[in-house]
């Protein structure tokens, strides 16, 4: 077992304590590595989008993906840097069911000086049966460094 590097430790604390909406939803970090992250959203009845059929609202799955993907970008960059989501695409593979937590794994698989590309998977009990697959692009603000100099 390796010690968590200070930057990743700071990132974990910042994510959980400083992002108001993440705090309100009660997300937790299961794993955080340079190569990718895994976060979890415990189930609440408030997440339902259809009480009659007991299905979780797709909207909160996007929120989980956006949060996890932003975290994956920062974990990969290994330096604090402002980032912004440019776009996000969700492909819903199957309904998300009540009473079950949602897990999200995200990987920043390509980093360029200005853009970072991320893919994310969301599942409930079986990672091989995803609820949603997602693709995102983030803009880095690394160019602003040049302006400062």
């Amino acid at each position: 077992m390796s010690l968590t590097p200070p930057y990743h430790q700071a990132l974990t604390e910042r994510f959980l304590q400083v992002v108001p909406h993440v705090r309100e939803l009660g997300m937790s970090i299961v794993d955080l590595q340079t190569e990718g992250i895994h976060i979890r959203l415990p189930y609440r009845e408030e997440w339902l989008g259809d009480v009659v059929h007991g299905l979780i609202h797709p909207g909160i799955i996007s929120t989980l993906v956006d949060s996890g993907s932003g975290l994956a970008v920062l974990a990969r960059l290994e330096n604090p840097e402002p980032i912004a989501t440019l776009d996000l695409r969700m492909d819903y593979q199957r309904p998300a069911l009540k009473d079950l937590a949602l897990d999200c794994r995200a990987e920043a698989y390509r980093v360029t000086p200005h853009i970072v590309f991320v893919r994310a998977t969301v599942w409930q009990t079986d990672e091989s049966k995803p609820v949603a697959l997602s693709q995102l692009a983030f803009m880095r603000s690394s160019t602003s460094k040049k302006r400062v100099v």
């Binding site: 108001p20 909406h21 609202h57 797709p58 956006d66 949060s67 776009d87 695409r89």
Partner: protein, 148 residues
Amino acid sequence: MSNAFSEARRIARESKNYNALTALMPYARFIGVKLLEVDGQPRAQLPYRPSLIGNAQMPALHGGVTAAFMENAALMQLLLQMDETRVPKSIDFAIDYLKPGRPEDIYADCKISRLGQRVAHVAINCWQRSPDQVIAVARGHFLLTSTE
């Protein structure tokens, strides 16, 4: 056959009271979505509250909240406009962020661009302050059940 969604829609159409509809969609109620009608067109509003912030430094709204609000607006528009007996299933949803969301109310206007036998395509604009100050555009495909 009447069911919970049909009944909620009837109330919404007749009295412009959307409480019965949002009661069936707890997440819409959780983020605090309101439905308005402007010039006969439905419009969704998300009143600002500090816990919707995703970037405390800027500060800016959580991008996921903007996406969720827009997708929810599309679902509610389909429920109100069609005779669906359940919430349409989301097939896919894509959002492009144009500007960070200021810590203020956001609004969404939806347009059903195509209505097929089984699939609806909905385009959604999200703005702040005035409809020309767009912060995000999105579109989604939704599976309809009323034809089943």
